[in-house]
């Protein structure tokens, strides 16, 4: 029972971690809390679901398409809602991000309606007994792909020219510009990667819960944000650790305390972390 809950938590947590990576990277480079991150998650899920229900396409192609659409929306968002406000007090883009979030949510509501959509492709998932605990292969697949994307991101940031340029921009924009880095392009690239990861997370959850709807990104988005703070905002391994801890804590809270307060666990953790250790577990960039 306990192990089962921990495994459920790790599955949800790995998805939070993917979204949290987007938050953390964008915060790291712009000092901006992108409240619309949850809507990118929703955009990715909708893109994949709509493509799969309209055309007979390969699932992996639809997955990539969903990530691509989320990335496109993210980059557009940065252009429209954040770039014109760069250099203003951090609260200004924060409010603008809130505006973008409700804008996209209500746009999705108008375009796609309020009802849940089932995932158009049915998968055959088995339940495997590992050391006496039944594990669904779906959970395994979600956890596995999340880990895959995270590894990819860490390798990208550490070992590629673009990755290093992003880190340089995050550390000091002016110096990065002096070194010949196109800062605007790096910011766009950060939004592109962060949004694609959120889109991937959205598609996985659309399969896991078999439901895609306009408000699906709201709570996961906010929880992923808590995860980013928990791990230390601006810190990439921190976002992963924060996401996993949050997912597990939430599931344990729902199982052993009260299921009605499941969604409150993440925010209670957020408040406690901000009060006791505002730089997060692994130490974020902070201000």
């Amino acid at each position: 029972m306990l192990l089962q809950q921990i495994l459920n938590g790790l599955t949800a947590g790995s998805v939070y971690a993917l979204v949290a990576l987007g938050y953390t990277m964008i915060y790291g480079i712009l000092g901006l809390i992108n409240f619309a991150q949850g809507e990118l998650y929703m955009a990715g899920a909708f893109a994949a679901v709509l493509l799969l229900s309209a055309y007979e396409v390969n699932f992996f192609l639809a997955f990539l398409f969903g990530m691509g659409v989320a990335a496109l929306v993210g980059v557009t968002l940065e252009r429209v809602a954040f770039r014109p406000l760069r250099g203003a007090h951090p609260l200004v883009p924060l409010i603008s991000a809130i505006g973008a979030s409700i804008l996209m949510q209500s746009l999705a509501l108008l375009l796609f309606g309020p009802t849940d959509r089932a995932f158009p492709v049915q998968f055959e998932f088995a339940t495997v007994d590992v050391a006496g605990i039944p594990i669904s292969t779906l959970q395994g697949a979600i956890f596995g792909s999340a880990v895959f994307f995270m590894t990819l991101l860490v390798l990208f940031v550490k070992y590629t020219r673009f990755g290093k340029a992003i880190m340089a921009t995050a550390q000091d924009q002016d110096t990065a510009r002096l070194m010949g880095i196109n800062v605007d392009r790096m910011i766009s690239l950060t939004f592109l990667i962060g949004s694609a990861l959120s889109g991937a997370a959205g598609i996985m959850m659309a399969i896991y819960y078999n439901a895609t709807y306009p408000r699906m990104g709201l709570l996961p988005g906010l929880k992923a944000f808590s995860a980013a703070i928990l791990g230390g905002v601006g810190n990439i391994p921190g976002a992963i650790v924060g996401g996993l801890i949050l997912g597990v804590a939430e599931n344990l809270g729902a199982a052993y305390l009260s299921s009605g307060y499941k969604d409150a666990v993440a925010f209670a953790i957020l408040i406690v972390v901000l009060l006791l250790r505002p730089r997060g577990l692994l130490g974020g960039r902070g201000h």
């Binding site: 809390i33 609260l91 409010i95 009260s258 009605g260 009060l275």
Partner: protein, 294 residues
């Protein structure tokens, strides 16, 4: 028809108080609260619960609503306002969601159904089911809040607040206790939202958590941004416009949220001072000249 206009005027008044209180935080603390509706809800539920269950008089409910909401504001403000600028936004957002969940799950608050049969005010033997009387009561409260805010902003403390808002470090160097001021304003603001909540509960006579969620917090924020952050008159106008316009444009109700989102972004990019905030907005919120659009 007059009934309907009275109703609109009363509803606008609640939002005027809410917008004014949030504007104190944004325009005079340079902070954003994303859980303002939670204080509104705490006020509404406090007042409703003690008048229903203990048969307390309306006035006691009102006073307690203000005090309890302010107490929550104080509890939330003390730890958070001393740290970073954007932390308050996040903590209040989380606080708003937790309060929403607590109201939904507690037995005493009636869960998703909320509370019904909240008694109307019992003051001076007047019948407050008559909307004209209620409007008088609400107007009296609005004027009191307006006077309080106006006097506060134009006092010695108001100048200290403006100094904090415009340059916190300099203010601290001048010997202003910036943390104490911020906490005081946040507490006051939460209390004012509690007042609006109590007035709302006794007017509508039934409340449920739906009225006090994230959506309401964002609506109040939009009112402040539209009217002009830091402008008292702006909050009154912003609240008035965003209460009355949606009523007149009922046919387009589906597009309401879309419009709020677009309005927030567009105002910040093209008119960050809001409709009436010329020369009154913190320099913090306006882009330095020549830096626009990088």
């Amino acid at each position: 028809m007059t009934e309907y206009f009275l109703h609109l005027a009363i509803i606008s008044s609640f939002y005027i108080i809410l917008a004014l209180s949030l504007n104190l935080i944004i325009g005079y603390c340079g902070q954003v609260s994303l859980g303002h509706a939670a204080f509104y809800g705490i006020g509404a539920y406090t007042s409703a619960l003690i008048t229903i269950h203990w048969g307390a008089p309306f006035l006691l409910g009102l006073v307690l609503a203000v005090l309890v909401a302010a107490l929550f504001g104080l509890g939330l403000g003390i730890p958070t306002l001393r740290i970073r600028d954007d932390y308050l936004a996040i903590v209040t957002l989380g606080f708003g969601i937790i309060v929403d969940l607590v109201l939904l799950n507690l037995e005493v608050t009636g869960g998703p159904d909320g509370l019904t049969r909240i008694p109307p005010p019992d003051l001076f033997g007047l019948n407050f089911r008559f909307k004209g009387n209620y409007l008088t009561l609400v107007m009296f409260c609005v004027l009191a809040v307006l006077l309080l805010v106006y006097r506060l902003v134009h006092s010695r403390h108001g100048r200290a607040l403006k100094a904090i808002r415009d340059h916190e470090v300099t203010a601290r160097v001048m010997g202003i206790n910036t943390a104490a001021y911020k906490i005081a304003i946040f507490t006051l603001s939460a209390g004012m939202a509690g007042l609006a909540g109590s007035l709302y509960a006794h007017y509508i006579t039934f409340i449920n958590p739906e009225s006090f969620g994230l959506h309401t917090s964002i609506l109040i924020l939009t009112m402040v941004v539209l009217g002009g952050m830091g402008s008292i008159l702006g909050s009154v106008v912003g609240a008035g416009i965003l209460t009355i316009l949606p009523e007149m444009l009922r046919r387009f109700a589906d597009y309401q949220d879309l419009a709020y989102g677009g309005l927030l972004i567009a105002m910040l990019i093209w008119r960050p001072q809001g409709l009436l905030g010329v020369g009154k907005v913190s320099q913090k919120f306006i882009l330095p000249k020549g830096k626009k659009g990088t």
